[in-house]
Symmetry: C5
Amino acid sequence: MNKIKRNKIIIPLDVPSTKRKEYQNNYLKITHNSGRLMLFAGDQKIEHLNDDFYGKGIDDSDADPEHLFKIASQSKIGVFATQLGLISRYGMDYKNIPYLIKLNGKTNLVKKNQDDPVSKQFVEIEDIIFLKKHNRLNILGVGYTIYLGSEYEAEMLVEAAKIIHDAHQEALVVVLWVYPRGKAIKVEKDAHLIAGATGVASCLGADFVKVIYPDLKGKPSHQAIKEVIQSAGRTKVIFSGGKSVSSKEFLKRLNYQLEFGAMGSATGRNIHQKELKEAIKFCKAIYDLVVERKEIKQVLKKF
Amino acid sequence: MNKIKRNKIIIPLDVPSTKRKEYQNNYLKITHNSGRLMLFAGDQKIEHLNDDFYGKGIDDSDADPEHLFKIASQSKIGVFATQLGLISRYGMDYKNIPYLIKLNGKTNLVKKNQDDPVSKQFVEIEDIIFLKKHNRLNILGVGYTIYLGSEYEAEMLVEAAKIIHDAHQEALVVVLWVYPRGKAIKVEKDAHLIAGATGVASCLGADFVKVIYPDLKGKPSHQAIKEVIQSAGRTKVIFSGGKSVSSKEFLKRLNYQLEFGAMGSATGRNIHQKELKEAIKFCKAIYDLVVERKEIKQVLKKF
Amino acid sequence: MNKIKRNKIIIPLDVPSTKRKEYQNNYLKITHNSGRLMLFAGDQKIEHLNDDFYGKGIDDSDADPEHLFKIASQSKIGVFATQLGLISRYGMDYKNIPYLIKLNGKTNLVKKNQDDPVSKQFVEIEDIIFLKKHNRLNILGVGYTIYLGSEYEAEMLVEAAKIIHDAHQEALVVVLWVYPRGKAIKVEKDAHLIAGATGVASCLGADFVKVIYPDLKGKPSHQAIKEVIQSAGRTKVIFSGGKSVSSKEFLKRLNYQLEFGAMGSATGRNIHQKELKEAIKFCKAIYDLVVERKEIKQVLKKF
Amino acid sequence: MNKIKRNKIIIPLDVPSTKRKEYQNNYLKITHNSGRLMLFAGDQKIEHLNDDFYGKGIDDSDADPEHLFKIASQSKIGVFATQLGLISRYGMDYKNIPYLIKLNGKTNLVKKNQDDPVSKQFVEIEDIIFLKKHNRLNILGVGYTIYLGSEYEAEMLVEAAKIIHDAHQEALVVVLWVYPRGKAIKVEKDAHLIAGATGVASCLGADFVKVIYPDLKGKPSHQAIKEVIQSAGRTKVIFSGGKSVSSKEFLKRLNYQLEFGAMGSATGRNIHQKELKEAIKFCKAIYDLVVERKEIKQVLKKF
Amino acid sequence: MNKIKRNKIIIPLDVPSTKRKEYQNNYLKITHNSGRLMLFAGDQKIEHLNDDFYGKGIDDSDADPEHLFKIASQSKIGVFATQLGLISRYGMDYKNIPYLIKLNGKTNLVKKNQDDPVSKQFVEIEDIIFLKKHNRLNILGVGYTIYLGSEYEAEMLVEAAKIIHDAHQEALVVVLWVYPRGKAIKVEKDAHLIAGATGVASCLGADFVKVIYPDLKGKPSHQAIKEVIQSAGRTKVIFSGGKSVSSKEFLKRLNYQLEFGAMGSATGRNIHQKELKEAIKFCKAIYDLVVERKEIKQVLKKF
């Protein structure tokens, strides 16, 4: 692994000079000095309700939210993304976990033929800072989802812009989830559209942007991934893992993304639907690829 | 009854350290040192208008709101949930009652085929604290309803998140009512859906979550109840009592819920539609089951 | 007349202890020590535009808003309810009038088949207190209308709850107008529905609630009126006068309401559509019934 | 001309005692000591876009907004009503003009069969006071438009009420434009409806109300105008000029309005569509009628 | 080039006297002492997503947002307009660029037959001032888009009015983008309609207004352009460049606009879709025309 140097980190200008060192610290911690982010996504209990945590093919242990904390605590990860409320109930027992607060959320109950998606900010940055300082929690960043192309897009763009400003004022790293979705969107996984989404994130000043992997028809071309990453500029792109696939297939696809410039990964179901030991092992594999940039062959050996 | 120890209570991290003892006190009082909550629901004068308080099969005394206060004052209960406005008119005569302020409410007049449900916060936490301190009222917690799957879900999720934060800052215990409802919801009592609802409550950081009992087709399986309770994690689940049924049937069902992990009960109509003595007797029975965990056979003897 | 004693007034708990005496004063003044409220409604210039003030069967003097102030100033009334703006233009010449500020209002132009009714708060309680103190106006209370069952119900419930809190903080008496109205409401004058409306007012903590008189099919049963009044608990019920009827008929109906527990009256058109002397005489008759509780026979003699 | 005496001006009670003299000054200036207001309306560049300023029958000079300032500066007028933004660009060269800030505005692009009209407040009263004091501008009042009967009526009623309160706190005179408009309104020029509109303005506490002249079918009856004016009470009524008509016809109609109680005039197109000299001459004629109350015959001689 | 003198600049009255010199400085810098503005538009990564930056006929370098900064840094331009978020990531390396912060933005995903356009303010003026001072960035102005004729027009008019006031308080120059758009607009490029748009900008007090060039049917008449410019009064008009055309054609059209009174240009795609050297060369040509007012023949020689 090539470590990035502290002085090579581009600190956004909305981070005050008194907080620049803290931002660098957060950035180095969240990426384990690699500049690449391995995000363990544990925010789907609102997004997908209990669909991702209970049922066929899902380990029984996943039915209990503490499973997420156990994995996050015992695995090599960059950051564990979940809601503030959940952390407020488990955080005292899992102080070592690096946290990223997911600031908004919605259920999947209203379908897009009924109404366009909208998701709003739950808590203020200052509430997070209070929680962090008061409990010495290891909170390194925040996340927020924008549904581009929704009729409520304007509300989410405004909230995102304000969050990025407020979070940077407090030295937090910001990850935007940007998903084109709504009646106006015919093909959510179109690479050119997703390149638009990463561009929007970069105009809003996000540190990282998480988008859907553009695999509409089989394996996307190098060019398609490149467009998506280039458009983000200095905002780094990570792809969401999507539905559960076989571990090998998952890791191969992830390596492919990293080779073409993705600066990390965001994985939820593919990790937490496994029982604890398997989940820890899988996190290790992802970490080895994303942070350590180990050879894919070497990583796959264990599967 | 096994008493819980003060130092075993998990205090949410958004309770400031200076308020932790007060939170523990409130928690112990509201559960009578048992960790289980017997909630007497008196908030339906807005939700159901006068339907629950007047008519066939309802005792005449229930027509007067003071009936609720008489029951709450003379019975063994965990907490009496009702609106601040009602308490402001009766509280001076019923200072011994343990109160939980229900913060929002809506009538049942607009049906879901006309518009999706929305219910908004009436008063601020600081108003409640003023009322509590100024009048030495025994206010231990607050409650709020979210209609998951409503087109207005986002507004309620945001209000709920902020209320939990503000209430914990003041050491109040928070109960969320979470009901999937709206045009998008086909089967409100589906266990998997309700497990989603308890999961949302846990992500928001509620202390207790009140959901509909998933009894779609006859008695639900142990597994169904277990899914609902597991998904809530450290947020405790209580089931709403639903329509009036025979006392015996009610108590048997409640015992069944408690056996499979429910951490309390929420009962309205089944209590207040009875005349005072009967209501007090019925509260005693519920209390014996929920708080004292007495044998169901022993409890049923009196009916 | 049986005077109520100062120490028998139930002071809502949201009135601060330093303002309790002032609240008692306002309550005694507004009810002339009787506990019963004779409200002269002069807020319809927004609600009904000029329909109530000009046309067949209406005295010419009613075309000028000052007519309302002349009546209120020269008659025996409990309180004169109208908008702050109107008072700000006439109050300097009518300082003796006991005022109640109607805080919201809407015109009757948009019909319910086009859109559900919504009416919003014009001015803040602090603005009213400023006006009151600065000009030594005799402002004793405030009023607000809620349209239950409207698609905008939530907005009005929230405003009402906040107004009651803020007004009580300033020792003002609060009258809620609560009318079920909107596409969802088939029969606005249904007694059971109106009992629901008075229950909502009591849950919000209003001092008085003004509802439509439930006279759907001829004279309503005692039971129907009793349900409406009981449901309100310690919130006192007054019925709106409705359309102009003959003076005798009006007074008989009012006496009937009072006999069954109504704690006052709210009258507009039946007063102000008369020329000044007639209006004063009619106010005297209402006052004799409501406040003095004189015999109906004695009161009717003059008509 | 009969001058009104300072001590005969009815000062609204929401003007603080420390500002009463300033309110009197503003009132006397805006009416040239006559109590009657000659308002030169220059706010239509938003309302009607360029339709009123360019095209057939309109003098070329009117294409440039400065034309309005030239007229206002060189003519006898009561007050020149326009947006703050325009004044901020020309006011330094036209410091002698008496200004009234029109606070809201909308274009005429969305027609009422598409959506009901809504127009919202651009700037705060405190911003106006800053601009006035900082630049020693001669700002005497503010104006605001309400579309009664629009589905957005509630929002505009609330803004209007707050503006009147805030403006009076700063001694400014308030003119409300009140127009019944929207899908619910069949006949905008109905006299009885317009009497409703002036009544609403009086309930909100406006100093002047500007309404459409009710000339539905030929010349309206004296009675119709009287209803409109009586309903306004102590709020004074001025009629908008409407479309361009011949100067003689315009002046005759204006005189007729004044004879029956109108307390001023509001004229836009009929003034500014003329070239400068003609416009000045026409302002003089209006001023002679409105403020000086000269004989109509004498005024018409010059046309 | 005729330089404008400092004391000839018309300073809007909402610029405080203590900031007038700074406003003059900003105005002179942004126009290079010419009074004419050459605006390089780099805000389309939100407006048009990646359509303008990747694909046929677009240089590969344009796929990376840094291309915009390279052009802006190495070319002669008046001001570079883009979002704050993008500047916060690149500004440390491009401190010499004169910036204008585009305050709102929307994507092009929702089409007007689905919903009318709305675009809202991302960040506050005070946030911009913080960023400017803290990092010594060369921020000279702000921009905001209004969609006239949209059903959401009112919201954007209000935001625009407040932004202009707040920005002038801080000595920033304001450019409004004003586009008639929405279901109500049949012909967006109609000259008379665009003259309405420039008139609205002038009523709001903008320094510059950017509108679509009214070239509906071939070359517009002098008269049409003159109407558009006259209507803006002291607000200066610049036309947006529109789709990519040949460089020669572009420059000829621009010169034509300038001859008839346009006070600058706004160009995006026609610049940044070229590779760096070509883009710099083209900026030079535009600068020569707009700021230096060189002869068109002389400028065209290089193409």
